[in-house]
């Protein structure tokens, strides 16, 4: 397709350009440019999704050479769903961030340039069909995320950013070593070329490469026990940054784990390895939720909630590996639905938490009294996002957990059901811990100042989307099936 308006290249070019232009414009500038560009990106992502539903998955040869000499892009349903999530989260958050940085200027200077490049990295990552190109997008994404954690300045954020940098570099280093082993074995890094070459009789180097790449990506996704870097990084950054990181950045490495596990390394996967990954996911759900319950800072609670919710994503693997096709299908749908629901809900929750912190002037759950009376919409947003995280109907989180439960029952793995039920109860406990405090009257000596309306409405839009996802999720699941054989 050589249409001027082919959405696939523009989804990468556009954020690259507006991010760079925002830097040229100067410190703190570029918010309006970003919002206009994000509206266009949303339309492009929708157009791409419509094209895929009509015409099926498509490859795109950058430079016209084609793999293995050149680099190919590949857009299928899974990629399109993630692209939609990215633009759908980024657009309301950009509106939110514009209001947020008008209220607090800390960290404003480089927010827009770094965010632009980060979105370019995300979009490029989702459609890349080349192992080395994926590494480049991972580096772009990781450095952008670290930069965003550091923009607020001060000792704690910079310490968190440095710890995050070391973790993310170790993760990409392991991934790159895996890519080198694969290139050493086959002489190519193109997914399309490699897919038929990797069989269950592949040399040991390929097994080692698969283990390194998957471990590196799990470290970047902060799967338990690799979650140590996440809470200080996500909890310490400015609210729009926390939202972007929790909603999108960790989903990118999760997406790659799914891609590699289900497609490229599928011949090498074993039930034992899948059960181990599932067990780490289960441990993440329990451990993350328990730690969320013990937090006294609001954003740290939300950050530990991310650690727990990441666990659900990884339940996909035991449920989809060497089980019945029906169970595997629901497992993939459930895992992807969880990525979407958590993306929207966690963005809403961090945004709402940010508004509460701006309003009360401090990040302390025990001092939230009065928020319910003064910021009802924000508190409602927090509650709605909580409903999605708990997995109550009719939210997207409910659909996700329902699909995962269905897969667990169909594949006879009842133990994951128990984990999900306990996780849901613990989630309810930490969400209500916040809500209960927020409904109390203002404490003596505290004050709750109103926040700009735009902060409240943009966060509400995200929470509403996370609920509507459950009602209108079916077309997305049809889109997900594009290019997946079944």
């Amino acid at each position: 397709m050589t249409d001027w308006l082919d959405p696939l290249p523009w989804l990468i070019v556009l954020p690259l350009v507006w991010g760079t232009l925002a830097f040229v414009l100067g410190p703190g500038r570029g918010a309006r440019l970003a919002i206009v560009a994000l509206v266009l990106q949303m339309l492009l992502a929708l157009q791409l999704a419509a094209q895929l539903v009509d015409a099926g998955a498509r490859a795109y040869a950058v430079g016209g050479w084609g793999a293995p000499l050149g680099i190919d892009l590949y857009a299928d349903g899974l990629a399109a769903v993630m692209l939609l999530l990215t633009q759908a989260v980024a657009l309301p958050l950009a509106v939110y961030a514009r209001g947020y940085f008008a209220a607090t200027t800390k960290g404003r200077d480089l927010f827009w340039p770094i965010t632009g490049l980060m979105l370019a990295a995300l979009n490029a990552l989702f459609v890349s069909a080349d192992l080395f190109n994926i590494y480049v997008t991972l580096e772009l994404l990781g450095l952008a995320a670290v930069g965003l954690v550091a923009i607020a300045g001060g000792t704690a954020p910079v310490t968190a950013a440095l710890r995050y940098l070391l973790a993310t570099l170790l993760g990409s280093g392991a991934y790159l070593l895996g890519v080198a082993l694969i290139y050493g074995t086959y002489g190519s890094v193109s997914l399309e070329v490699l897919a038929p070459l990797i069989t269950d009789e592949a040399p040991f180097a390929v097994t080692l490469a698969a283990a390194l790449m998957l471990l590196g990506l799990m470290l970047k996704t902060a799967l338990f026990p690799f979650h140590f870097w996440l809470p200080p990084a996500h909890g310490g950054a400015p609210a729009p940054v926390s939202a972007l990181l929790s909603a999108l950045v960790i989903k990118a490495s999760f997406y790659l784990v799914v891609r590699l596990w289900l497609d490229l390394f599928e011949p090498l996967t074993t039930v034992d390895a899948a059960q181990l990954i599932g067990a780490l996911g289960a441990a993440a759900i329990i451990w993350g939720s328990l730690l969320a319950l013990t937090q006294t800072r609001l954003k740290m609670l939300v950050a530990y909630s991310t650690v727990a919710q990441i666990g659900y994503l990884f339940l996909l693997f035991p449920l989809a590996t060497l089980t019945l096709p029906a169970a595997a299908d629901s497992a993939l749908q459930g895992g992807v639905m969880q990525a979407l629901a958590h993306g929207l809900a966690k963005a809403a929750m961090f945004a709402a938490a940010g508004s509460m912190i701006v309003a009360t002037g401090r990040d302390d759950i025990n001092r939230l009294g009065g928020v319910g009376a003064r910021l009802p919409l924000t508190l409602f947003t927090f509650g709605m996002a909580g409903v999605t995280l708990m997995g109550l109907p009719p939210s997207g989180g409910f659909s996700a957990k329902w699909l995962l439960l269905q897969a667990a029952l169909e594949s006879g793995q009842w133990w994951w059901v128990a984990v999900m039920v306990v996780g849901g109860l613990l989630t309810a406990a930490y969400v209500f811990k916040v809500l209960r405090r927020a409904f109390l009257p203002v404490a003596e000596g505290d004050s709750v100042t109103p926040v700009p309306r735009v902060l409240e409405f943009s966060a509400f839009a995200l929470a509403l989307a996370s609920i509507l996802l459950g009602v209108f999720g079916a077309p997305l699941m049809d889109l997900l099936a594009v290019g997946r054989g079944a």
Binding site: V13, G64, W65
Partner: protein, 218 residues
């Protein structure tokens, strides 16, 4: 515990090293011969040197994103700098200043040569940019350049120029072909143009990484 941990780490690392060595020893012959592909297509790439052809043409998309990585690294450094913390340059020894004044123009000349020669021999934008950046660092050390803690508009344009030109060239063909397809007749000229812009921006970015980061305060 304190004793056990380092031992365990060393043991694990050794085990991993052995596994890696074992994996390398049994590598099969490559199923895909990329160097042959490169040789077969180099005539159409617009340059004669295979590395430049891979970096700017065959896998130019990787390079495009790597330029963004470089710019991003600078954003990260700038995020850590407090603008009011900028120190005036230390006046260096007059001999060093004279030397820097003599060397800097020569380094610009060398950068230009490396850029030009990249089409046929080892060289190109990264090498040329690195030499430019070295000139910037030398001038700073000699006390002849101020710290770049808050880049001016002109400097920001220079820093962004390489990426913007590269993206513009990549997207200019979108009506007729895929992203980053050079029309064969123009490939050589376009690659030189992209590399020239990249040399400037890479040089400025690498220099800025140093000229800004010397001002980072805890």
């Amino acid at each position: 515990m304190r004793r056990v941990l380092p031992v365990a780490i060393v043991a694990l690392a050794a085990l991993f090293g052995v596994a890696l060595a074992a994996a390398m020893l049994e590598l099969p012959p490559h199923a895909v011969r990329l160097p042959d592909d490169v040789a077969a297509n180099i005539a159409a790439s617009g340059v004669a040197h295979p590395i430049t052809a891979v970096l700017l043409n065959f896998r130019g998309y990787d390079t495009l994103l790597e330029i963004a990585v470089l710019l991003l690294a600078l954003f990260g450094v700038l995020a850590l700098v407090k603008p009011h913390a900028a120190r005036a340059a230390h006046p260096a020894h007059p001999l060093l200043q004279t030397l820097a004044r003599l060397l800097a123009p020569l380094m610009v000349l060398v950068a230009g040569y490396l850029l030009w020669v990249g089409a046929i021999a080892p060289g190109g934008a990264f090498q040329a940019g690195a030499v430019l950046a070295a000139a910037g660092v030398l001038l700073r050390l000699a006390g002849l350049l101020p710290a770049w803690v808050a880049p001016t508009l002109l400097l920001r344009v220079g820093l962004a120029l390489g990426l913007l030109v590269f993206v513009a060239v990549a997207a200019a063909v979108l009506g007729h072909a895929t992203l980053l397809t050079y029309p064969p007749a123009l490939a050589g000229g376009l690659i030189l143009m992209v590399e020239a812009a990249l040399t400037l921006s890479i040089g400025l970015t690498l220099a800025a990484l140093y000229l800004a980061s010397t001002e980072v305060r805890p």
